[in-house]
């Protein structure tokens, strides 16, 4: 399988200060990659670099062999869709209008959104269970509903790669599972998914590959079964972690012990 996304020696960050240091990754067509790591480890910066929003300080990101910076914005958005983090800031715009924005890469300079675009938008809203409030203002939606609208927008972009930045953080368990089932289904149809996920167990349940970042470096990269181990997780999160098999899917799941983080820190610093 050829690499769809190739990241080579990438350093990126805000201003001149790099958050990511010398990251190299190759993501193939049809992978479902979970980006994991503590807060501030560079997950968001990496996703921003993959969507072409943050320009590399050094190194490069290429898509199907073409440097991302050389792809015109609309063409890029037709290939890579992004679902942003929930910030609590919602615009006073109808949900359907937000989803239609996903068709922006496909409209001409003077033409508007066609009936075809509208049909695609509405079918994406049906998939994400947002159809019923298509004509409500996003301001009147709950956080979970709003995030599902943004996911519908990303689906409407019909891109072969979808990037998610903790996109389900505002959602309850049932909605989270629904969204990930949907992503999994897209993934099975050949879409590449790269998702920063806070919940490591969720990542282990759905992803085919896990990439751990810490302080801007890739410290672990491999299949779920290879990297999702007691030692690895304990080292990365500075907390004793035990893994067991999920009773149904047999994917590894992590368990924490209350109060152990502080004890572990005292222990590991030699007190």
């Amino acid at each position: 399988m050829s690499a769809r996304i190739a990241i080579e020696n990438l350093s990126a960050g805000y201003g001149k200060t790099p958050v990511l240091h010398n990251v190299s990754l190759s993501i193939s067509k049809g992978e479902m990659v979970g980006l994991l790591g503590p807060n501030g480890s560079g997950k968001t910066t990496l996703l921003m670099s993959l969507s072409g929003v943050r320009k590399p300080l050094e190194g490069s990101v290429s898509l199907n062999g073409t440097n991302l910076l050389q792809i015109p914005p609309k063409k890029r958005a037709a290939q890579v869709a992004s679902v942003p983090q929930y910030t609590g800031e919602t615009p006073d715009i109808e949900a359907l209008s937000l989803v239609l924005m996903g068709r922006y890469p496909y409209i001409s300079a003077l033409g508007g959104y066609s009936d075809h675009d509208k049909k695609i938008a509405l079918s994406c809203m049906q998939e994400t269970a947002t159809y019923d409030f298509a004509y409500r203002s996003a301001r009147d939606l709950s956080g979970g509903e709003f995030q599902r609208v943004l996911i519908a927008r990303a689906l409407a972009q019909q891109a072969k790669t979808i990037l998610l930045d903790e996109a389900t953080s505002g959602l309850d368990i049932a909605r989270t599972i629904e969204i990930f089932d949907l992503l999994k289904q897209r993934h099975n149809n050949g879409t590449t998914v790269v998702a920063a996920i806070h919940d490591i167990n969720l990542a282990a349940l759905y992803c085919t590959r896990l990439v751990f970042l810490k302080q801007g470096h890739v410290i672990l990269d491999g299949t779920v079964d290879d990297v999702f181990t007691d030692e690895n997780l304990t080292t990365i999160y500075d907390t004793p972690i035990h893994t067991f098999k999920h009773p149904v899917t047999h994917a590894p799941q992590a368990f924490f012990t209350p109060g152990s983080a502080a004890a572990f820190n005292r222990h590991s610093t030699g007190e």
Binding site: P91, L110, A134
Partner: protein, 355 residues
């Protein structure tokens, strides 16, 4: 599922209805306001004169009354509609691209540029005419030049590495506006004789404006509006922020530049003929947003009509409220109306968001 389509249709009908009502109100107001003034002219005669001029266009025998209605009142009314709608639309655009609810057409320094240009012209006592549109005097042209130069300065200062960022734009605008305000003060302090005319000009007025002023503003207004309408869809996307706009495939910097130029053309031309008329561009977009949400296409249309109406009636007040034909500057009227109204609006919005 049919319920959703129904809502869509009802929504659409409602915004068309709203736009229709306000458009009709503009036409009716224009006629009514033409009949209103110190010289007593009947509504029937006013209507006859307007119909005669608009539909037949033949210059028949002009009576004093028909000259007053057509040359003095109606030209001024059309100008107030143009400037009011222009400022409201420009305000909507500035609030959108700067993502700042307190932005208005004057935040970015373009109007200060115009005011400075006019001050310089007044200071040097220019009274000559320009071949094009002779009779306007040089002040509007100096103001327009000042506005365009200020816009150039803001764009130059605000773009870093070829990118027009929102924060840099706000800062550049404020810096340019402040600097120009200082220059205007300098001009005023150099020549006491011109202080009164400069101050009066800056306060904003439509007194004595004619069809030639309409001619001056019209091309800028038309081109500016066309640019804004072309990028109105992008305005919605831009309101989600730079990152999302880029992820949706939009060249945010380029779009912002076009919108800035379009809105500044309208603002610059408006200020050039009328001076600085405040509050229309700040209050009207807020009011309309409260009624019909933040989607920019309907917002722009309704803001244009409401802005036109607001300035039209403010100007009627300005020219009739004082006895014996004395006039208030219309900028004072809009500020007096707009200030308390804006407080009310702010109070309601805050109450809504704290719920």
């Amino acid at each position: 599922m049919t319920g959703t389509a129904d809502i869509a249709q009802r929504r659409f009908k409602r915004s068309v209805f709203f736009a229709g009502i306000t458009a009709v109100a503009c036409v009716v107001s224009a006629v009514l306001a033409s009949a209103y003034g110190p010289l007593d002219i009947s509504l029937q005669q006013t209507l006859d004169t307007l119909v005669h001029h608009i539909f037949t266009g033949i210059q028949g025998v002009e009576t004093t009354n028909s000259i007053v209605v057509w040359e003095i009142r109606f030209s001024r009314i059309i100008l107030s509609l143009l400037i009011g709608s222009g400022l409201a639309v420009a305000g909507t655009v500035f609030q959108g691209i700067l993502r700042n609810p307190l932005a208005d057409p004057f935040t970015i320094g373009v109007s200060s540029g115009a005011a400075f240009g006019a001050s310089v012209a007044i200071f040097f006592g220019f009274s000559g005419t320009v071949p094009y549109l002779a009779g306007l005097g040089i002040v509007p042209f100096a103001a327009l030049t000042g506005a365009l130069l200020a816009l150039g300065a803001v764009i130059t200062l605000g773009s870093m590495g070829g990118q027009l960022k929102r924060d840099a734009l706000v800062l550049a605008g404020v810096v340019v506006a402040t600097f120009l305000a200082a220059l205007i003060s300098l001009v005023k302090s150099l020549d006491e004789d011109s202080v009164a005319s400069i101050v009066f000009w800056i306060m904003g007025s439509l007194q004595g404006r004619t069809w030639q002023h309409v001619q001056l503003i019209l091309p800028w207004y038309a081109i500016g509006m066309a640019i804004i309408w072309r990028f109105s869809r992008e305005l919605d996307i831009l309101s989600l922020g730079e990152t999302q706009a880029q992820q949706l495939g939009m060249n945010a910097s380029r779009v912002r530049l076009w919108l800035l130029v379009g809105a500044s053309m309208i603002t610059g031309a408006s200020v050039a003929v009328s001076g600085v008329i405040g509050f229309v561009g700040l209050v009207v977009p807020h009011l309309v947003r409260l009624v019909q949400g933040g989607e920019h296409r309907p917002l722009l249309v309704s803001s244009a009509f409401i802005g036109g109406l607001l300035l039209l009636w403010s100007d009627v007040l300005a020219r009739t409220i004082l006895p014996e034909g004395a006039e208030l500057p219309v900028g004072v009227v809009t500020a007096l109306l707009g200030g308390p109204f804006f407080c009310l609006l702010l109070h309601r919005t805050m109450k809504r968001s704290s719920r």
